[in-house]
Symmetry: C2
Subunit: 454 residues, 2 copies
Amino acid sequence: MTESYKINLDETDLPQAWYNIQPDLPKPLPPYLHPATRQPLGPKDLSAIFPMALIEQEMTQERWIAIPDEVRNIYRLWRPTPLRRARRLEAALNTPARIYYKDESVSPAGSHKPNTAVAQAYYNKAAGIRRLATETGAGQWGSALALACNFFGLECTVYMVKVSYYQKPYRRSLMQIWGAAVYPSPTELTNAGRQILAKDPETSGSLGIAISEAVEDAATHEDTNYSLGSVLNHVLLHQTVVGLEAKKQLALAGEEPDILIGCVGGGSNFAGFVFPFVPDKLKGKERRFIGVEPTACPTLTRGAYAYDFGDTAGLTPLILMHTLGHSFVPPGIHAGGLRYHGDAPLLSLLVHEKIIEARAYAQNPVFDAARLFARTEGIVPAPETAHAIKAAVDEAGRCRETGEEKCVVFNYSGHGHFDLAAYDAYLEGKLEDMEHSDEVLRQALRELPQIHGR
Amino acid sequence: MTESYKINLDETDLPQAWYNIQPDLPKPLPPYLHPATRQPLGPKDLSAIFPMALIEQEMTQERWIAIPDEVRNIYRLWRPTPLRRARRLEAALNTPARIYYKDESVSPAGSHKPNTAVAQAYYNKAAGIRRLATETGAGQWGSALALACNFFGLECTVYMVKVSYYQKPYRRSLMQIWGAAVYPSPTELTNAGRQILAKDPETSGSLGIAISEAVEDAATHEDTNYSLGSVLNHVLLHQTVVGLEAKKQLALAGEEPDILIGCVGGGSNFAGFVFPFVPDKLKGKERRFIGVEPTACPTLTRGAYAYDFGDTAGLTPLILMHTLGHSFVPPGIHAGGLRYHGDAPLLSLLVHEKIIEARAYAQNPVFDAARLFARTEGIVPAPETAHAIKAAVDEAGRCRETGEEKCVVFNYSGHGHFDLAAYDAYLEGKLEDMEHSDEVLRQALRELPQIHGR
């Protein structure tokens, strides 16, 4: 029998604790600032929309945070997820590289998102909260939170970016099957939404706008909290189950990963996958980390590293991150989950410190890689995930030229079963490759808030 | 740590051979008859549309058929599939029963169908065939064959039942991603299709009609063979990998299954799942086998056990099976994969001999069970699969009343990711529960061919 295609772990191998990278950073993470006073934020400032347990996880310097049994018992419905060897893709590329992918698409929601959704629902339920409000882009986060709320008996309200709501109606169905209420954002339900609609009734919406609506909903209802699917430290923390499992699995395969790759929207699937490997690099091991984003929303490759709002309306704290400016509204590309104007502050710091690399690709080459993957490995990736596949294909191609037998590992963050309209558009040659002019990006950055003394 | 949710097998546990139930039947399977002469069919009669290797598998009395390495190496992309314990469903039902399900939804096509598609593509390629033609109902079979043809470098032409083509466009996309040509059936491409359209231009199509078109395509093209996704003996044979794995997994869990359940369209997922357990019952072990079908197409529960054509146009051999008559066109229910007028002859014989039970359910109670399953286990089943879930829920409910701690196992034949429009219709209260009058069924059965001397 030839070598195996999958490296599975037992449920007993499920990590007991999440990995917090904060104590291992080359320099401390600058504080969030209050949107009004511009002063460093304290735990109290976040308590209107988050439970204290998550606020503590947001700020703690503890390296390991125990995963509650209630959370691990939900994880066990689909975790540990398989690490797969892409032998057929390797053969098609005629590369000496060994390509692996961590398959997070096997969760009920079809992506990595439930890893933090389940944790957030648990801590909110434990804090006596009755309802969670959130935003969603492609619908992956919204469906994950709907699933998690269903498991813990919480109500769930989802503000879904309008362009995705209509491009991907089936993710909306999925949220409704799990009992969530879903609205196309911007809505008339919030001040933030009404203001945007007054300015531009035809807006396709954006993650930033939807965040404003969900935050306002939570801040104005006593029994309701807000839940974010990416960007924040505690979200990235929960996603480290992905990298911790992958590390065990690569060890079982006798591999030392040379290149680790993930797509970047807010940064949570990428960070959750690579952060557990970062200490190896800080200790001197050869590791390259590549975050991949769309040229239509090039936050890491062309954004500024500056304080900015997490949302469009300027309701959230100011965060030091890579950003295109909170007023930037990316075009309605099919990788809806990568249409965010900023990036996770932890990821942004590590990119700024040159510990993590970033690169951007246009839609058509990304879908070329996605189709090659579907034709070789069989499974059809989400457009977001296809960005990581494109980078893995390019790196494996370089190995073909140089003859290097590198170990390339990427995070297969989600399947494309609800994105087939995007594949139709691709197969019909209707996808546009979007490259922003410097002027457009400069214009957006002009609206960055001026933070004095920083 | 509480007990596990999944029973996984290693790739090395993948079965080495398929199980052929023919030598273990209580009485031999009556022969297929030639559609024109009505005389028993010989291998030659099938050689125009099938490769000899599959014709031999159709008729052999060998109990075990070795699985070629080329086939096992494709299986290994997703097999062995997990056997899952439905602990959360059990808790929701407050039942003493233990419920397990074999998860065939993890294949790239999202169902059990690739188990035979891969085998059929392999044997046709080995026989020098260049293209395969087939029909598909819900699209699960068509996408499975498109995937398999892609792996072996065969062209693939799919005649897709019109109602499903429009209800489930995303399965069509999936087939196209894997390189297949897909047409809504009936088409103008075949005599069979043109004749139906002349009679009824508005027909929603049926599996029987689509079979006629695919068979005609294959019979009229030298380099093209036909491929069937269910009904025939060799198809059921290939699907026994499902039951053979499940048997190993139940043994690992220390379980003796009391009730095994599957949904029945043509019968292949049900047969592949339960046939490996049938010898246990013949040897006197307590085993109940329940095939579940929709009331809209009640072939096993209300059909005749008689010789009939496999297709609508009367091109295929005559098969002794449970049938509603080859002219029966079932309504366009959402479980498109269960809309076939007949059943596998092997399954029909075992139902006729009372070794296997059958039951029928209407759409709404089936979707009630599907939603309960999605809310407890997380994952969203295909409408076809939901029929099996409904029966498992009912059996577990009986155990709650009697206090019996039965082991109930069903085949989770596919996921519902491409069927969410059906869930929308259900959630909006738009699903009709269809029960045929005796007169309608009598009318359809009047068109059964008269086989003299039988």
